[in-house]
Symmetry: C2
Subunit: 456 residues, 2 copies
Amino acid sequence: MNNLFATAFPADGNLLVHTLAKGHVADLVEYLNTLPDDEAAAALAALPPEQAVEVFDRPELNRASELLVSLPGAASAHILREMSADRAADVLRVLDRGAQALLLAPLEPEPAGTLRRLLAYPEHSAGSLMTTEFVALPTTVTVAEALRHIREVERTRETIYALYLLDPATRALVRTISLRRLITGEPEQKVMDLALAREPVTVSAETDRTDVARLFARHDLLAVPVVDARQQLLGIVTVDDVIDAIVDQGTEDTHRFGGMEAVDKPYLRIGFLEMLRKRAGWLCVLFVSEMLTASAMQHFEAELEKAIVLTLFIPLIMSSGGNSGSQATSLLIRALALGQVRLRDWWRVMLRELPTGLTLGAILGGMGMLRIAAWQQLGFYDYGEHWFLIALTVGLGLVGIVLFGSMAGSMLPFALKRLGFDPASASAPFVATLVDVTGLVIYFSVALLVLSGTLL
Amino acid sequence: MNNLFATAFPADGNLLVHTLAKGHVADLVEYLNTLPDDEAAAALAALPPEQAVEVFDRPELNRASELLVSLPGAASAHILREMSADRAADVLRVLDRGAQALLLAPLEPEPAGTLRRLLAYPEHSAGSLMTTEFVALPTTVTVAEALRHIREVERTRETIYALYLLDPATRALVRTISLRRLITGEPEQKVMDLALAREPVTVSAETDRTDVARLFARHDLLAVPVVDARQQLLGIVTVDDVIDAIVDQGTEDTHRFGGMEAVDKPYLRIGFLEMLRKRAGWLCVLFVSEMLTASAMQHFEAELEKAIVLTLFIPLIMSSGGNSGSQATSLLIRALALGQVRLRDWWRVMLRELPTGLTLGAILGGMGMLRIAAWQQLGFYDYGEHWFLIALTVGLGLVGIVLFGSMAGSMLPFALKRLGFDPASASAPFVATLVDVTGLVIYFSVALLVLSGTLL
């Protein structure tokens, strides 16, 4: 088995093994990521089998699925068998059913069955993150027996720091105990007597990764058991997978807040068509919604023609509304994601955004009026005899628009959550678009109020 | 000591102890967070000392510093002595020097010295995250000796799953070994023989938390040692603190991408003045920059007066530039944060954004032209005899602006990084503002080109 990989590219293989075998796997993965497809495949085929397994165990390995497919059948089967089951399922998940079946065919029934079960769980669920390689013990076991068992199975378990105590009759999960607590016990002591008298923290296979992550942060966990309705232990999610999940989720949330669909590939590996697909969708939706601004402008065309000076401040005023909205949305997306604020708190948030939006609007409104007054007095530009009324229009318009931006921006995540969407789909461009149309209406309404009888 | 807390509020105390002592600490913390200041202080004072320590050990506890100050001196000293040193330093860090000195005064020299050292490290550095409660062993120790030592000190160490082997002479860090590897050894075996023959992964006390987090994700660590230039072990950063740091960083990045200063408090606990301070600064900076749009519009006033129909599309066109810029920025902020793209890759990114921006611009430009043609042909609005030239202006303007938005949005994070700023300070409103002024100039330049001789 040791030579299975080396036969294909003996020369390359020896060189690579010599150069890289002594370093950190992470560095080897990084190096493989820089190689073209065929060279990476050749290099992998030339690695000693144990190291190829370690490489595939890393979520940082790019093109893992393609590389696995490119290996000889015996090599890919060995890797799938030896690598951690949760990661193997991740690698298989992106392939089509045919390729999956081809890779699973040479495996023994047991590992193949585990992988098929893991593949059946929805993306980003605890089930898709979990590994079945945990240490379970009957509640009747002693410390010495437990330690002996742990030593025996250590090599094939993802973690041995959290141990799961099952009812010997029903196999239901009864308690969780940490290795650190276990080793403080006397050899003949019952493990059950050392465990904390607390129901273990568990998740179901359908729990979303963000909720799993929140549980880890809340309880400082190293692993969480995944159970079904009958408290049967299906697997465990370990902290390293949770860290990867939180980092992925951060990328996804940033992309969505930027107004596009999330991409889970490194930037330079996103294909041209995929890039267009992820960006064009939202861009078109926002564009079509923003067309309403053209309609709003057409509606106020008579006013525009009479007081063309009003158009000068449209970009300034609209952007201020979008900016204040974007601030409020970013605050509330995180507050909702971290559970600091619940759906029923929407009115508390509104009560805080009202004075905040008013004050921010007053600050910007004051600055806008000062700008117009200064340009007029210093002779940079002549806004005509009614320049003060124009300044007042801009000032009051800003108060209204910034207030509206803060309110709309803070309420949008609540509205999305209420409608069953992820509050994090409220992007900055989304809020800006929402505020733009209303902003124009506010601006022109203020203008009609302030300037009617003079300019309008 | 056991009654130290209970004396202050015996009745409340018994009730609380009865109700909460059996649950998860996380639930107790959540309950305390909902109480008004004085009731939370009273409840804490009434808890058994060990549980008060557990509560203060949770970063989720709001107002931890204020609550600690409100406790009797003996109680706060007990908590500071018993809680984990890194968390204690976090609680002290937000207090002024006077309050810190007052709380540290009743402590013994050793814990007080440790806390003073931790307090000296900059915010968000590995030094500020680390704990000094780790297990260090001389390289000469056997497995049995190591296990005996671990059992003895287990209660007072933050983790015992990563063990640090020091040179007996210089006390420099030589190897890291995991407990799981240790327990697979024979009792008389040297620990050093079990450790992997690899330099341990380490960080310095100044390493930023984002880099620490990246290292954890990369190497699937449970703890990382913090060493000085002479490889002396200063402390360790454990995975639970890293998860908290990643979540905090996610909040900070979202707030900044939304165009405001980051706030590290739960939304409903941010005071009115603090809220204004965090939001008004950027809002004013963006407002002043956006004033340039008014100047740009003034510059093109003659054209505006001749072809007022051009103003109708200004909001639509400007927002499209901002949206495409926001997309590109969100992509590159993450790509840079995750190390998928380096500073020197800026030209590769530019080469990818060029065709992407052109295509996205062509899609939106086509939609914009269709909209104008449709409204004209269906009689919804009359753009005049030169309606096709106006549609062409809008279409070409959109190509130019979306292209410019994608380029500017993708290059901004690079520019910030090059200038020594965090690329994540590139917010969506920042990009939109950058694109707005140039967008106007592009639009009017296209208009001059297409419409000169007819409308202009």
